[in-house]
């Protein structure tokens, strides 16, 4: 009865481990099928992430903030199609308006906004104006720029400038709420507010009530106007991006990267490292241990001393010194973990094979004249298979944890973003001191879940493995 209970208990752990593993395999399959390799390589490319918010918390945080009326603004991107257009013509100039309606319903200020646009114009460059109409009727002009006729206006981030052959110029710009033009323009409205606005960022002025610096709810109109003096001006693209304080399932980091994306592309890499290291190390460990145990004598002793030697090395220190010189390659890391992973496994296998060697049926078959190779193949290896499987499962987390630790120290392979590298970035940006918990929580949890899955599977395999004395 007790044994049955015991079995069931281990079985439960194994089932939990197995379902965690299935979950991880699910993420891996999805990532490989639906996220193209090209996109996966964009992790460290800042331009890829420019339209994302900075340091945004996970979107579900808002559900917990409902009772406090302190909901955080969501990230919002308006495209050109969502703008209401109107135009107005005079004899010598033409005015084009693109108006975005932003319904601001949150209890806190957004963390900024940006307006990227690209214009095509002929000989006479147009002027560009951005203004905001607030729910209380005030209107602020926050940006005015008469574009230069000389094509040298690509000073902003991501700015591009190309010269079309038919004298058409194209200019791409991005107006940030933090840019000097915007803050300077807003200073002209300082009299309207009952508090000093000189030290505040633009979004905390635009979205603020006039009496006190609190967010004002309502519909804001962002109006983008071009004043052109010929008919060649075409607004090709415009967006309004209100940077939220919450975004997606897991939020974003200091570099605007979507953490959900990082978690997903990290999964296949972690599993690859774990499985590659564990399978190689267990195979080497199995055969090394077998030979050391079965041969015995001087060769055996020498082989054991070799294992002892490896096990006495302070691995973390050596890992760091080696990575310092050869680091930053996935293949190197895998090789390193195999090199220091097999000795422990070899020692276990040696102990077992010494035991099995002395079992009566093995001795009998040896007396019957079976060759050593056949004895090992027919009697010893089948007995070791269950243990080897358990050892394999238990070796996976060791490799994953080692990779995470080395990545955290900065020796990860930058072309394969891993959870350890995400945590390194977080630590370098002082995320734990600034309270960006979502940036720390998710990658670490994934490392833990992956390790736990294999530990549980390994433990339940280990419990079931038993040496048979008869055959």
């Amino acid at each position: 009865m007790n044994i049955m209970k015991d079995r069931l208990k281990n079985y439960k752990g194994g089932i939990l481990g197995f379902s965690l593993l299935l979950f991880l395999i699910g993420i891996t399959t999805y990532t490989i099928l639906y996220i193209p390799a090209k996109e996966r390589a964009e992790w460290n490319n800042p331009f890829f992430w420019i339209n994302y918010p900075k340091n945004a918390a996970p979107a579900w945080v808002n559900y917990f903030l409902i009772p406090f009326q302190q909901q955080l603004p969501e990230h919002k991107i308006y495209s050109k199609n969502e703008a209401v257009t109107s135009s107005f013509s005079e004899i010598d100039f033409k005015e084009d308006n693109h108006t975005f309606f932003y319904d601001f319903v949150y209890g806190q200020f957004p963390s900024g906004f940006s307006i990227p646009f690209s214009l095509e114009f002929g000989e006479i460059p147009p002027a560009v104006e951005i203004s905001v109409k607030r729910p209380d009727g005030l209107e602020f002009v926050i940006y005015y720029n008469s574009l230069d006729s000389v094509p040298s206006i690509s000073n902003d981030v991501g700015g591009q400038l190309s010269n079309a052959s038919n004298q058409q110029h194209e200019v791409s710009q991005r107006v940030f709420s933090s840019s000097k033009e915007v803050t300077d323009s807003l200073m002209e409205y300082a009299d309207l507010f009952n508090f000093t606005i000189s030290d505040l960022p633009a979004e905390k002025i635009i979205f603020s009530e006039t009496d006190s610096n609190k967010p004002m709810k309502g519909i804001y109109q962002f109006i983008f106007t071009t004043y052109s003096f010929d008919s060649d001006t075409i607004l090709k693209e415009i967006n309004l991006i209100i940077e939220g304080k919450v975004f997606g399932l897991m939020g974003t980091d200091e570099f605007r990267r979507d953490i959900t994306f990082g978690i997903m592309i990290g999964t296949p890499v972690a599993l690859l490292i774990g499985v590659a290291v564990a399978s190689t190390a267990t195979t080497i460990g199995l055969f090394y241990g077998l030979i050391a145990g079965y041969k015995g004598g001087k060769t055996g002793t020498l082989m054991v001393i070799m294992i002892d030697l490896f096990l006495s090395i302070p691995t973390m220190v050596l890992f760091i010194v080696l990575s310092l010189n050869f680091g930053s390659s996935l293949l190197f890391l895998i090789g390193l973990f195999v090199l220091f992973g097999w000795p422990g496994l070899a020692l276990i296998n040696r102990t077992f094979s010494v035991q099995i060697k002395n079992y009566p049926y093995v001795e009998a078959s040896k007396l019957m004249g079976e060759s050593d190779f056949k004895v090992v193949l027919r009697h010893i290896i089948p007995q070791l298979v269950p243990f080897t499987l358990a050892n394999f499962a238990l070796a996976v987390p060791a490799a994953i944890l080692a990779e995470a630790a080395l990545s955290f120290l900065g020796f990860g392979d930058p072309s394969f973003p891993t959870w350890g590298q995400m945590l390194q970035d977080a630590h370098f940006s002082s995320a734990e001191i600034l309270g960006y918990w979502w940036w720390i929580l998710a990658p670490g949890l994934m490392i833990s879940i992956t390790s736990l899955a294999f530990i549980l599977i390994g433990r339940s395999l280990e419990h079931r493995a038993k040496l048979g004395k008869k055959q």
Binding site: L309, S312, L322, L324, L423, E432, L441, G444, L452
Partner: protein, 355 residues
């Protein structure tokens, strides 16, 4: 007799490991060390010559700076030759020379770091940080073991309760959680949200001032608590397992039949017999945390050897890296040796039996 053979075997393996680790380090950082040693000689020679200039007649007569320079160069060349620095790092003479230099703690000067007193000697730097590392990691490891023994032997008496499953589950979980990640979470919790402990564990008061010890202990609290939380579940789990196995032995059962009270059996006989295995557990815990100390000290900014090592690696401060590798390996191997020796005294079977 057997104990001597055992000892010799153990020590020779440890010495071999030390040599191998140093060889790897030297071969990887060797060329930079050479440059540093030549620089040191240059400074030494220049200093000693300018110091003795008033006494040294011959140099005094040489008013021509170029001639004086050539004499200095000559001196440097003689000294580099005598140390074998003109040969490449892989020449046998050179390697043995470097090994001796390191083994005799002739570790040179750090390039970027100084002690609180302003000295940049690698030895002094390490000696300043070493006590902090030992303080944090031994106190936390011993606390973990004590909790393990108390809770573990208590739970061993009442097997099969929910607490058993809880401990087993916690032990598996704490093995799969990276300790350094857990440290970051603890900082978010206790420094950012609750604001009980400082996020940076380097004391603000300089050593020597009256309140230093109190400040140091206050700053140590968070890393200490973190390490105890990470370690205690495994410790309880394994102690329970070890004590259970000892209790199952016939001689303990006999004591019960004789009529000794269970508490006395547990405390006096069972724990005594579980001693060697508990020692092993402590040793494994200590050596494992030593490697992890690099990350944990860095995250908490605890002024220990691990933190110094991390910063030396980041700044590529070769003399300091080599010195720290030497000390880390030495500390690690000495821990293992002490453990092996204690075990062989506690349990004579280890040093005699083959299997």
């Amino acid at each position: 007799m057997s104990i001597i053979i055992y000892l010799v075997k153990k020590i020779s393996i440890l010495v071999l490991v030390l040599i191998i680790t140093l060889l790897v380090t030297i071969s990887l950082l060797g060329s930079t060390i050479d440059k540093i040693m030549v620089d040191n000689i240059r400074i030494q020679v220049t200093n000693s010559l300018s110091d003795s200039i008033s006494e040294n007649q011959r140099l005094n007569q040489l008013q021509d700076p170029q001639e004086r320079q050539s004499i200095i160069e000559e001196q440097i060349n003689i000294q580099t030759k005598s140390l074998g620095l003109d040969e490449p790092w892989y020449s046998p003479k050179k390697i043995s020379n470097s090994l001796i230099q390191i083994a005799t703690l002739n570790l040179g000067n750090s390039r970027f770091f100084t002690t609180n007193d302003g000295s940049s000697s690698v030895n002094e730097l390490i000696i300043e940080k070493l006590p902090n590392t030992i303080l944090l990691f031994t106190t936390s490891s011993i606390t973990v073991i004590v909790i393990g023994i108390i809770l573990g032997s208590y739970l061993a008496k009442r097997e099969g309760k929910i607490s058993d499953k809880l401990v087993a589950g916690l032990a598996s979980a704490s093995l799969s959680v990276p300790p350094w990640w857990f440290s970051m979470i603890m900082i978010v919790l206790f420094s950012y949200l609750l604001q009980i402990f400082p996020a940076r564990s380097t004391p603000l008061i300089s050593p020597g001032t009256p309140g230093y010890i109190v400040d140091l202990l206050y700053h140590m609290a968070l890393p200490f608590i973190t390490m105890v939380i990470i370690g205690f579940a495994s410790s309880v789990y394994y102690t329970k397992y070890i004590v259970l196995r000892v209790i199952e032995e016939d001689y303990i059962k006999t004591l019960g039949i004789i009529g000794l009270p269970p508490r006395k059996i547990l405390l006096k006989h069972a724990l005594k017999n579980a001693g060697p295995q508990l020692m092993t557990m402590l040793g494994i815990g200590l050596t494992a945390t030593l490697g992890g100390s690099i990350l944990i000290e860095e995250i908490f900014d605890w002024p220990g050897m691990g933190n110094l090592f991390y910063n030396a690696v980041i700044q590529n401060d070769s003399p300091l890296i080599i010195g720290l590798v030497y000390f880390f390996t030495l500390l690690y191997l000495l821990t293992r040796l002490v453990l092996d020796l204690t075990l062989s005294f506690l349990d004579p079977r280890i040093r005699t039996g083959e299997e």
